[in-house]
């Protein structure tokens, strides 16, 4: 589950640092958007090329 890995990785980061996540999970976009909203973080960018989805999340809090 991508959000489990994101949640764990973000815990290790300092505020202001960004995390780049690549995933193939079809519900990744919806999940990562919901995750940043709930966790008060920032989705800096999201790209999808042929099912390879890349999310860049900034740790803001």
């Amino acid at each position: 589950m991508p959000i489990v890995k994101i949640s764990r990785a973000m815990k290790e980061l300092q505020t202001g640092v960004t995390l780049t996540v690549t995933a193939s999970d079809p519900s990744f976009k919806a999940d990562v958007e919901a995750w940043v909203r709930k966790m008060n973080q920032k989705l800096t960018s999201f790209t999808d090329s042929d099912g390879i989805q890349i999310a860049v999340i900034e740790k803001v809090s």
């Binding site: 589950m1 959000i3 489990v4 994101i6 949640s7 764990r8 193939s24 919901a34 995750w35 709930k38 966790m39």
Partner: protein, 205 residues
Amino acid sequence: MGDNITISQSELIALVNQLVDQKVNARLADVEASLKSIQGTVGTLSENCPEDRATLVVFSGEMDTLFAAFTIAVGAASMGMEVSMFFTFWGLTALRKDKTFSGKAVGEKMVAMMLPNGPHAVPTSRMNMAGMGPLFFKYLMAQRNIESLPNMITLAQELGIKMVACEMSMGVMGVTRAELLDDIDYGGVATYLGDAAKSKITLFV
């Protein structure tokens, strides 16, 4: 009427100050009283306000239903929520690490014999096909890089999800603490209700 009262400036100031103090004190008493009442209301509200918590009752004991329960629980924990899971009846299988027969009554031995050995050996709720279904689903899930049910349970423990085994159903089914995972809690319906009452999300799976 017509009498002229002479008053010195300092006397006048003292008089005015006295009057102002009287008025201010009266107003302050009102404000203090309403502040006290507001504080009381806020206290009651925050006591009754749900925490950022999800509580799940896990009643069923099949691969697919347990997988759904653990996916939600692990997801909620990853979204910063406190999570409690209460395992009752067939759901206890998820916590089973061992099966023992010694020291059990005949009925309890029979139940132990019929129950799955643990989360690695549970049937599917549909398309079980005498045990072929779970094998097929395990294959499909592995192919899609999805965690297995036993891994999800380990993950739930790692994430600090509170897992509570229902003592009453353990009693009915003759399940002992030694047969269940270490580091879990034990409780009854009040334990569940206590957590559920403070939860934003509560589910019965």
